[in-house]
Amino acid sequence: MHYLCRMNTENQNAQMRKGVLELCILAIIAQQDAYASDIIIRLKEARLIVVEGTLYPLLTRLKNDGLTVYRWEESKSGPPRKYHQITATGMQALAELKADWQELVVSVDKIIGITNNQS
């Protein structure tokens, strides 16, 4: 029973993180043109992803949706790097997502009653 419960909360946690991944990636790229490793480091610091393979499909999708573009840059060590850059559409989408996130945080806090203190 205990094991099952743990599995479930873990799953929920993963689900929640999934939802915000795109927002975070977009935000990182918006701050500064970035290549995959930069983004991975930031996301890993924030413990939003565990394995790097997750990132590439998301980057490809952002590009396909026209929210980002990329350019190639030579690297001193290793293969050339893809630098991702946000587009005007991307900025717009980011602003909307941010607003949505704020709203969500406020609504959820209101219900679960978290104040400034930690839970």
Binding site: P57, T60, P79
Partner: protein, 533 residues
């Protein structure tokens, strides 16, 4: 040596195998997504980068441990799937629907893993499934066909996630219910919404029955979902069985599997190869017709079967299957038109011959029809089976000789004399050929006294195909006169020749309404006396 993202690495054999396997798995995993190649290229570049960081000097060899580390960093497909959120809405819906999918199990296979796949689906030891297949195999070999069809239809579990899905959860009512619930959720939401709206109205009216109505609304949704579950499942089973049945019947007919089984039945349905060999087989390969029928009828039957199976087992659509089948079907249609033209051409020209059989005593009151005593056709009496080829009655002997049963017609004549006309007909590719076919027909007839002697059958050349040959006799009977079939005709099957009664001999009288069977013997005796003048 391996080339990753434009950089060459020295790599040992184990590591190479491991890395290759990993990349293959990723490829399969991402193949369903848009921009799969981009994603894979990015991942390869990243792997190259990690490896360069680890082994700055290019001479150093990459080992399996290095690759393991890379995989740990990048994540295997299952981990990636757990983390990513790239599925399209409908994909996510499918995930909700099916906790498991039908796959062939390549890890525990004897032939193609069909049985172990079924075993995984039903949580059975594959041994039992194999046993059932072997039993079907012994019972007429139908197991082979079913196995082959399942082999084609069911995809192989290739990736780890496929294999996990293959095992999935136990199939029970709750799971089926849950999977269907997702499908009706939209419908359910709408009904529920309506119910709660009406409930609100009632509550406003100050009645406690609103709660009741809400309950009823939910109950209806529940019922609908059960109903829908059953309906989809039943429709699937029905379609699958109907498609399979149709396929089996078609293949049995087209490839003549039935010949041994049903040849002894009272009415014999000629299988396609038999029929074709008797007709067009002399001029074109039967395989054309078999191909045409298999594609034009078989493909729709197969698709019915396949879609039925999908409704029952909810496995994913096989890529391009429908498209491919449709294209083959179109090709089949063209082949059918072409074959049709060829067959039409075989029978294009008709040649006909009329001969008058001169009777010795055409003025008598009764024309006696007897069997020719020494006709070779007398060997084949009632043991042979009657075939109907294009309205022409015929029998097929054990030596594959086609014997035509002559058709006999009566017509009234205002004349006072009997007359008999024999019509012989044959077809062919050219007028010349039609004439040759006609000339080859051998049918004996002779007139002696008041009787007309007929051979029981018209014969074609041995081993010859039927090319529209027919022999018909038109007998003109003066009004009030009689035709008597000899009792010998009862040694043959009487209704082959004319609608005779079961008595020893059959006498017909030409009346105002055409010929009529005179039932009693006294009739036949007294009648000729009456007509004597």
């Amino acid at each position: 040596m391996i080339n990753l993202g434009g950089i060459v690495f020295h790599i040992d054999e184990d590591a190479y195998a491991l890395l290759n396997h990993y990349l293959e798995n990723l490829k399969k995993h991402f193949s369903k997504q848009e921009g799969a190649q981009d994603i894979l290229n990015d991942i390869e570049s990243r792997i190259a980068e990690i490896l360069t960081e680890k082994r700055p000097e290019t001479k150093q060899v990459i080992t399996a441990e290095d690759v393991d580390e890379v995989i740990a960093i990048m994540g295997n497909p299952v981990e990636i799937e757990q983390e990513e959120n790239t599925k399209k809405p409908q994909d996510a819906g499918e995930n909700l629907k099916g906790d498991k999918r039908f796959f062939r199990n390549p890890d525990a296979k004897v032939i193609a893993g069909v049985c172990s796949g079924i075993g995984a689906w039903f949580h059975l030891d594959p041994v039992w499934v194999r046993l059932i297949f072997v039993l079907f195999l012994l019972a007429g070999g139908s197991g082979i066909l079913v196995y082959l069809v399942l082999w084609i239809v069911i995809p192989e579990a290739q990736t780890t996630s496929d294999k996990l899905e293959m095992r999935g959860e136990k199939v029970n009512i709750r799971n089926i219910d849950r999977s269907i619930r997702a499908e009706v959720s939209e419908l359910g939401a709408r009904v529920g919404h309506m119910a709660s709206e009406s409930a609100a109205t009632l509550r406003r009216a100050g009645s406690g029955s609103g709660v009741f109505f809400e309950g009823v609304g939910k109950g209806i949704v529940q019922l609908l979902s059960y109903f829908w579950t059953g309906l989809v499942f039943l429709t699937g089973i029905t379609l699958a069985l109907a498609g399979l049945g149709l396929l089996l019947i078609l293949l049995t007919y087209v490839f003549g599997w039935s010949d041994r089984m049903f040849w002894d039945a009272e009415f014999s349905v000629l299988s396609l190869p038999k029929l074709a060999n008797l007709t067009i087989g002399c001029s074109m390969p039967v395989i054309y017709l078999q191909l045409v029928l298999t594609t034009v009828v078989g493909i729709p039957a197969f698709m019915i079967f396949y879609n039925g199976l999908r409704m029952v087992f909810r496995f994913n659509r096989i890529k391009h299957l429908g498209f491919t089948m449709f294209n083959i079907w179109i090709v089949g249609i063209f082949l059918m038109a072409w074959t049709g033209m060829r067959i039409y051409n075989l029978y294009k020209f008709t040649e006909e011959k009329q001969i008058e059989i001169a009777l010795e005593k055409p003025g008598s009151d009764t024309l006696n029809i007897n069997l020719m005593a020494d006709d070779p056709g007398l060997k084949y009496l009632r043991n042979e089976k009657l075939l109907l080829v294009d309205d022409q009655k015929a029998i097929l002997t054990g030596d594959h000789e086609i014997l035509l049963v002559p058709g006999i017609r009566f017509e009234e004549t205002s004349d006072s004399l009997f007359s008999v006309t024999q019509f012989t007909l044959a077809r062919g590719k050219t007028r010349m050929e039609a004439r040759q076919h006609m000339a080859a027909i051998r049918f004996q007839s002779a007139a002696m006294g008041t009787s007309l002697k007929l051979g029981p059958y018209a014969r074609l050349q041995k081993e010859e195909c039927w090319r529209g040959e027919s022999v018909n006799l038109l007998i003109h009977v003066p009004k009030g006169k009689f035709v008597r079939f000899d009792q010998q005709f009862h040694d043959l099957k009487p209704d082959w020749y004319y609608m005779m009664n079961s008595s020893e001999e059959s006498i017909f009288k030409m009346t105002e309404n055409g010929v009529e069977l005179t039932t009693s013997a006294s009739d036949s005796i007294s009648s000729p006396a009456d007509t004597v003048k």
